[in-house]
Amino acid sequence: MNALRAEFRKILTTKLALWLLAFSIAFTALNVVLMVYLVPTSARLVNSGQLLQVPAYVNSIVASCANASVFVLIIGIIGMTGEYRHMTITATFLASPRRAPVMVAKAVAYAVIGAVFGIINFVVSLSLATITLSGKEHAAIVPSESLQTLSGVILGFAIYAILGVAVGSLIRNQVAALIIALVFVFLIQPLLSAFVDWTTAWLPGGALDAVMNLTYRQGEATSGLLSAWAGGLLLIGYAIVLGAIASITTLKRDIT
């Protein structure tokens, strides 16, 4: 319990979390605005003008807060690699020389922070979608669909934060870990999705879209996503595998 309190205090005694929260909110707002105003006027898409009448598209506007997950990944990475970068890991393991409980405490603390980020970003996308859609002719925002998005954002963002911590403890160099994670999210994952169709559903991004009910990307319906349940289980699987590898290496590591 002491280790968990210490992890929360670590997060709350620097300004990083607040900055990343602000960026994530701005990013979510940008996603909503693009999906409400720009995508439906796109000349590239067939029938783009009718998008706002498609229920799944409207629900995807609410679910577009999923894209803010990258900030949760970043907070996990910076939080973990920061321990090595600033050598605070020494103080951490001096206070709690049994390392397994420390790793568990870190995972729990970051999962909670991730879930809080998720809830806040969901509130932002839901309210901004409601405001910007009013006065336009649009399909209804279905409360039960939004509720699924909310449960999905809580689980998905908690898992993404844990994945960030795991990546950070495997790649201790902060800059390298951030670059690798961002290249994966913004380059490798979209490329794989675009050229090898079946990978979409099985990548972390596809699993997150499934669990959050985000079925439209760039104005087109995503094909072949897993069910929300399967997507959630897949995300948990990613967290367990990556988390276990990270924990095992951290337990044995010499802190020099």
Partner: protein
């Protein structure tokens, strides 16, 4: 204040970094650090001091051998910060965190109250700067914050790695008195340094290592007596003096400036001998308390292990 006396033990410790023929940082090292005394852990940079301390603190796993705190491995201690306070290096702080924030994180991890944070800040003279970010701290202030961190749990053992680095002379004097008072309370104090003179006035015992191996271990006053005392003598009648000394079974060498370096007789004996034989002396200088010279001789690369 916990009055338990807790000794530190290093038993046949060996640490090799890397696989196969890696870097041998510590080699079959054994010593004991007693409560109620200040022990200096000395050796040149890169001699394995920090590795030994990190093994003691459970941060580095030994290749073989073991390290014990009060008879137990550090990793098995139930409330480690209440047993051992360690200040390993000045760089272990997040620059964006305030000193108070840093201490409150460590305090939380050991269930220590917020009022103790204020106490240790006052104790090390950082009370006025506790709200400032550590990124703006000088090296000396970071050393004080390291010390404050180590003291949070009112530990029975204090382990400080090069604590005098970055402190001004006033700070060093303060630290010396502070460590002496902790030892006087029955606590165990281990202070590492790469210069003997820095801790010479503070320590009771010394553990000296070179290339990861023990070269001297014992009370500070025994350090010089273990070595042959040397006396420097100048005289206009060098040859007569030399014969007289050698007849008295001292061994004599001539240094480049033309002075005699005598071992095997102390200064009063040499003076008496010269007086009895009416040999004029111009200088008679005992070098037996030049600990730094002894230390350098012990730790220099060509110096032999004692």
């Amino acid at each position: 204040m916990s009055g338990n006396s807790v000794a530190l033990e290093v038993r046949s410790l060996t640490k090799v970094f890397g696989r196969g023929d890696g870097v041998r940082a510590v080699s079959d090292l054994s010593f004991r650090v007693e409560p109620g005394r200040v022990t200096g852990f000395l050796g040149p940079n890169g001699s394995g001091k920090t590795t030994t301390l990190r093994c003691l603190l459970g941060l580095v796993s030994p290749t073989s051998g073991e390290t014990l705190v009060g008879g137990h491995p550090y990793r098995e201690l139930h409330a480690p910060l209440h047993v051992v306070g360690a200040a390993l290096e000045a760089s272990g702080f997040h620059p964006g965190r305030t000193a108070r924030g840093h201490l409150s994180v460590v305090a939380a991890s050991a269930g220590i109250s917020g009022s103790r944070v204020t106490e240790v800040l006052e104790l090390v003279g950082l009370a006025a700067d506790g709200h400032r970010k550590v990124g703006g701290y000088s090296l000396g202030m970071r050393q004080r914050l390291s010390l404050a961190t180590a003291l949070l749990g009112e530990p029975s053992v204090l382990i400080l790695d090069e604590p005098a680095n970055g402190l001004d002379p006033e700070g060093i004097a303060w630290l010396r008195n502070f460590l002496r008072s902790l030892a006087a309370e029955g606590r165990t104090v281990l202070v590492s340094s790469h210069v003997l003179s820095e801790v010479q006035l503070t320590v009771d015992d010394v553990v000296i290592i070179r290339k990861g191996q023990l070269v001297n271990y014992g009370a500070l006053e025994d350090l010089s007596s273990g070595m042959a005392a040397r006396v420097l003598v100048r005289s206009p009648e060098l040859d007569r003096l030399r014969h007289a000394l050698e007849a008295a079974t001292a061994s004599v060498a001539v240094d480049p400036t033309g002075a005699l370096i005598v071992t095997g007789m102390n200064a009063p004996e040499i003076g008496a001998l010269a007086n009895a034989q009416h040999i004029e002396l111009h200088q008679l200088h005992s070098q037996e308390h030049d600990l730094e010279a002894v230390f350098l001789e012990l730790t220099s690369s060509e110096g032999g292990a004692a």
